[in-house]
């Protein structure tokens, strides 16, 4: 985990990504709604609400194949690194990047791992709530989003609201219910000059919440 090298997609990763995107469409008919940003090959950090393992698959299904090949989801090593099989799925099939919540050495520092991905010109998908959320409200954001933006201000932060995934594949279930899903991509968020960490994180969270197309629903 300490030394991170991202090559272009392996055959396995290409097959997995095309297959999963096709499956995501068949099950959820997923559609991107570009509301404030446009599809682009710019380097980006997509940050999204997190309720299900399917979130990242749905989000990447909305990106083009070339973008998908250089966009990596950040996943928890505590979960995805637990067994050989999980590690194989996360890294060799989904090309996710694993970070540890209880890091010990400097090389394991989550921010330095994420920065090393960005420095290779790749994009990230992160879930700033830090865990799959089972409550009805969006959890407060962890500070990674702020730290990344301070360290690499040129990278766009795009809020992405993933709709309905908590109903399709709730935490603890393994069979998805086919329901229609949308992913709403909002306008880029950036740290304002002199903006404090806490204020920025609250604003980023509010920007994400504002993308929910049906805030009246309490599913």
């Amino acid at each position: 985990m300490s030394k991170l090298s991202l090559r272009t997609y392996t055959l396995l990763q290409t097959v997995t990504s095309v297959g999963l995107s096709a499956m995501a469409w068949a099950v959820t008919g997923v559609r991107p709604i570009w509301s404030g940003s446009e599809p682009s090959d710019r380097q980006r950090i997509y940050f999204a609400n997190h309720t299900s393992h399917g979130d990242f698959i749905l989000l990447s299904a909305c990106l083009s194949e070339t973008e998908r090949a250089k966009t990596h989801a950040i996943a928890a090593a505590e979960y995805w690194g637990k067994s050989r099989l999980r590690r194989f799925i996360a890294q060799d099939m989904l090309s996710s990047v694993l970070i540890s919540r209880q890091w010990t050495s400097e090389a394991e520092h989550p921010i330095s791992i994420m920065l090393s991905v960005l420095d290779q010109g790749h994009s990230l998908i992160i879930f700033p709530e830090g865990t799959r959320n089972t409550s009805d409200e969006l959890l407060p954001f962890r500070s990674g989003l702020y730290n990344l933006s301070m360290a690499r201000p040129d990278v766009e932060l795009i809020p992405c609201w993933i709709e309905n995934m908590s109903r399709v594949l709730p935490k603890g279930q393994f069979l998805p219910v086919p329901l229609l899903c949308r992913v709403v991509f909002g306008a880029p968020v950036a740290v304002a000059p002199g903006e404090e960490r806490r204020a920025f994180l609250q604003r980023a969270r509010a920007e994400l919440l504002a993308l929910n197309p049906r805030p009246d629903r309490d599913d």
């Binding site: 008919g29 908590s166 109903r167 709730p170 219910v177 086919p178 229609l180 049906r214 599913d219």
Partner: protein, 311 residues
């Protein structure tokens, strides 16, 4: 039967070509950029080409084609319905069962022509067992709303829709092996009625039928559409076991039910705060936006034919 199918296909081709040419002429004469009505009209006509092509292909595969096609239509419709209505985490297994058990089983009953169970499986067994499962989960929050939405979802999307391919199981004396034409008659008349109501409404519509439910439905559209589709029914009597007069009466009843189906669907959408069920069919909306009339017409048509024409 080949003869009748050829006539139908040629007829549909002529109608759609006329529609496409008309829309092209209207667009050429209209000021640019085109009005949203005109853009929508062109999208609708293009989608009709695709839908007619898909139906035609399914037709050539006969019983297989029809059963699989309508099972898929049920899937798309159920997905739209369940997406729109309220559910909770504890409903997961019931929702899974609706897709994974109810749809396949209902269409298996259609396939094997097990009429006795086909008519009661959903209204009796699912009606009683699904809320029982929900109750066993112990989550009573908005219980009645959740179980009602589930009942409605499978009644509309699975039970009613499955009556279309079930027409193939009816035994009409002197009409053996030609039941596919009953499906063609029902679909052409009911969908034709939708189109005719739209045309009459756009041309002559003045008096709203029910402004609270659906602002686009007018008395002029309704009356013009129903009269014209009854005539269309009489015209198509040659593909049915009905006389021309009977055919127009059956078409009238089916299209009236179709109109009511559209009205009920509008009321549900309005209650849930959306304009369309989904985005599956460009220009039309979701699967249920296109099939809401068929949903209400199919079971009534099925039972009229079964009661008066089968032995």
């Amino acid at each position: 039967m080949r003869h009748e199918i050829s006539i139908l296909i040629i007829g549909l081709f002529v109608v759609l070509s006329t529609a496409s040419v008309t829309a092209a002429i209207l667009s050429a004469r209209a000021p640019k950029p085109l009005s949203s009505t005109l853009v929508n009209l062109r999208q609708r006509i293009n989608a009709w080409w695709v839908m007619v092509a898909l139906m035609t292909v399914a037709f050539f595969f006969g019983r297989y084609g029809m059963t699989i096609l309508f099972a898929l239509i049920s899937f798309a419709a159920l997905r739209e319905f369940v997406t729109l209505t309220h559910s909770r985490r504890s409903d997961h297994w019931v929702l899974l069962g609706m897709f994974g058990i109810v749809i396949p089983f209902q269409y298996w009953l259609v396939w094997t022509a097990w009429y006795g169970l086909f008519v009661i499986f959903i209204p009796v067994y699912c009606f009683l067992l699904m809320p029982a499962i929900t109750a066993l989960h112990g989550d009573t929050e908005r219980f009645l709303e959740r179980v009602s939405a589930q009942q409605w979802a499978i009644m509309i999307s699975v039970y009613c829709v499955s009556h279309v391919p079930a027409l193939l199981t009816l035994n009409v004396p002197g009409f053996e092996d030609r039941n596919l034409l009953l499906i063609a008659f029902l679909i052409i008349v009911v969908q034709g009625s939708d189109v005719l109501q739209y045309i009459f409404g756009k041309l002559f519509g003045k008096h709203r039928f029910s402004p609270n439910v659906s602002p686009s439905k007018t008395w002029e559209g309704l009356i013009g559409g129903l009269v014209a589709s009854s005539l269309l029914g009489a015209l198509l009597s040659f593909i049915t076991p009905f006389s021309p007069l009977q055919a127009s009466a059956v078409a009238f009843i089916a299209c009236t039910m179709g109109f009511l189906g559209g009205l009920v669907a509008s009321a549900i959408k309005r209650d849930q705060g959306v304009k369309d069920w989904g985005h599956l069919i460009e220009g039309h909306g979701g699967m249920l936006d296109r099939t809401d009339s068929l949903v209400f017409a199919a079971p009534i048509f099925f039972h009229i034919v079964r009661y008066f024409w089968t032995v």
